[in-house]
């Protein structure tokens, strides 16, 4: 037991494969791109490699460091053309789909007349 853990030969090219996929390249085009770099592989192999990478399973002790959450960026200052509102109560109320009674349903659009009136034709 022991020894060097397995690592796919595609591992060093992970970033370039992902970049190619984001540029909407086909798996076949990626295989050809890798072949140009001297990596002989196949279309299903690249696909399986990327599928496995998506599942983020790492060998014991090979997990990457915890990602550092980005800090909240400072918002740019409000342009002076938009007046600042100091109090929320100054804001106009949001548009409501209800009238006065919250239990009443919003009014429906006027339906078409459902009845059709036949004109008499005494000649028949």
């Amino acid at each position: 037991m022991g020894g060097k853990p397995f690592q796919s030969k595609l591992e060093p090219h992970y970033d370039s494969i992902r970049e190619a996929r984001r540029n909407r390249q086909t798996w076949q085009a990626i295989v050809e791109m890798l072949a140009a770099k001297g990596v002989t592989t196949s279309r299903p192999a690249v696909y399986s490699f990327m599928k496995r990478k998506r599942k983020r399973r790492y060998a014991f002790g090979m997990e990457p460091d915890e990602p550092i959450l980005p800090t909240v960026a400072t918002l740019p200052s409000r342009p002076k053309s938009i007046p600042e509102t100091s109090n929320l109560s100054d804001l106009p109320p949001p548009p409501s789909e209800f009238e006065t009674d919250p239990l009443s349903l919003p009014p429906k659009a006027k339906a078409k007349p459902k009845w059709a009136v036949l004109k008499p034709n005494p000649k028949t």
Partner: protein, 270 residues
Amino acid sequence: MPEPKINHRFITCFQSSGRIGKSTMLEGVLAWASFAGVPAAIVDCDGEHLTLSKRFPEAAFVDATRSKDEFLQLMTSMPDSPISVADFPAQATEFLLDSMQSLRVLDALEKSETRMTVLMFAADDPTATASMAKTYRALGHRVDYIVVKNPARFRSSLFDESALADLFRQNKVPLIELPAVTATTLQQINAASAEQRRHLTLAEAVKMRGLHQMCRFEIEHFLNRVYVQCEDAARVLVPDPALIKNKVTRLADRFAAKPVDEFSPLNIHE
């Protein structure tokens, strides 16, 4: 107690049986109303067959038996026409009668000077009989009835012997008997409809030159019989018989007028 004033008639049928001629009868009533010069409003609520909306392109389909809300919308949008006809689907008796009761439709109709006329198909099958009894128990004498017989579709012998039939006879409820139309004529109407790419009404089919003359005569006979019987039942089909502008010309049946003498049948004098 004075008779309430009637300005509108709402004609429909609440029975649960299918394929007994409900839509055909309503089509006959509409054809007669057109002939008589009485405007009629229609709505098709039978989504399974869509008979009225196929034959009268003006008629919209309204799924009024889907919910009480739809039924209420239909009833509240009833126009001011002298006659309003709604073709409800089969198997909706319970829903319709329950809605009629909970929405107090008859009270509302009375206030709008509308009286209902309910078609009662005198079919002997248990579903038709049960739904007829339920309809009469729910609506009673607050509506008018027309008994319809359709010998091509059903027998009426059990109904004729029933207490309800006696009651209808005592109250002089009009009876309409639909004449049979042969399968050949129906096939020719279907073929002509396919040719025209629309469903022809009987009143339209009778004018189609493509139909064989005898088929057209048969349709004409059907319509004539329906017109005559509808005119006889006009007191429950129109709010006021004075609205009828065009009456059926009735020819005296010379054979029926002179019965055959059993003792000397050949003694015929023109």
